[in-house]
Amino acid sequence: MLEKLRLDGRVAVVTGGGGGLGTAMCLALAKAGADIVVTDFRVEDGEKTAAKVVAAGRKAVLFPADVTKSDQVNDMITKAINQWGKVDILVNCAGIVRDEVPKPFWEISDFEWHRGIDTNLTGAFHCSRAVAKHMADRQCGKIINIASGYGMRGRRGSFMYNVAKAGVILFTMSLALTLAQYGVKVNAIAPGLFQTWGPKERYDASASFIPMGRVGQPAEIGALAVYLASDASDYATGEVFSIDGGALFSGYAPIDYIPVIPLNE
């Protein structure tokens, strides 16, 4: 049964493969047996990830692309298919939070709005569209969209990210229903807060609001990505899998509000 988790002979494309979670998922998929097409517009970061995959004993290649540009994405997917003859797995992990800075809502520029939506949502559309026909023709394939707990909850001062991630979740559902007839499965992972860059101290304040009392380490997302990329999850499609230390259902009461109220008849 556990051998169903193996990805030997599979080819995975991971967008945002140079980032924290992207790198972790590339490595996990590789360790489960997959060869990896890393894609990222940050060439140096992408190269580092590819080198780590090779060091882990699998093949890796970097095809840089900006996911907001459909011509670059189409080109990247064509190269990816040509590289080893197929693509079995697409992980849409490219995203940015950089524009979600504390400033008045009325000062968000057109550019910032579009960049947030384009990177976090339209990028997943571009990549999925580019690879879907190939997967449908082969009657198999796994698309994993990286959403966020913030795709199901609001956050003060955060607009493009939350709205786009909510879009990613609905995109996951509709695409799953659309591609089900071709044997292609589409699911989303909704991560909570992970220590993707900078020192642990940077996350201390946030960690105190996470039920488990800590942020996630990027490596912790690996096994879930492997599960969703593998045959082991073949009855799951259009689903959202949260991995967040309990954060999704907290926040209704203060984290230290632990009342004791007797039951009176």
């Binding site: 489960a32 096994a223 499609t237 689903e239 949260s242």
Partner: protein, 252 residues
Amino acid sequence: MVLEEFSLTGKVALIGGLGQSWQKEMAGYLAEAGAQVALFGKDEEQMSAGVKKAQEMGREAMAIAADVTSYRQVERMVQTVLKKWQRIDILVNSFNLPFAKPLVETGSGEWQKAMSANSIPVFICTRAVGKYMLERKEGKVINIVSGLAERGLPNGTAYCASKGAVVQFTRALALEWARHNVRVNAIALGWMADTVETSKKEWQDSISHLTPLKRLGQPDDLACALVYLASDASSFVTGSTFYLTGGLMAHG
């Protein structure tokens, strides 16, 4: 290797079952991943089949008859397991009483029975085992529920409410125990083969047709999700419900 994270070698799993034919299969999956397994409940045929499956995987296993609505009996069962293996790492709650009837024809007794059969054993077993997990500051609880915890069904009011209760149980308790390193998650199944709900051929056909992946679920479909949630592979996952429904949750 990432797959090592899924290993349950040296772990002890309890699987409580009532009315679900995959209790024995789950014993096989957890044993295959390396766990020693104790099955408890009242379906002796089911439990001994589970013991056999676990032993075929080369693990120790046992069946313990217990009334899962009796805290005393469940606690005694826990003591028996601790005496034998000195630890409990995983608790799987898989209790199910199907029931469908128009609400106006549903008697108070029927309502109470449906609500309690589907939720009280989850409370009792989790409380009895959880107390011990909290002391050890380590444990995983996995509740097996249904997609009907989040969706409606004509004549299914009592059943849907009872399953929804277990999902909310999962979410609330996950927060309560999060800082004690005891994780609480759920797996929600869709329409499964070999159940009373899908016992008629015409139901099977229309349900399969509605399901995006065009088939009923099989016990195998939950195997790796179960091992994932039972193992260190899911170390940052708590309060989650994994819906394995063939795509049903995406439309509606």
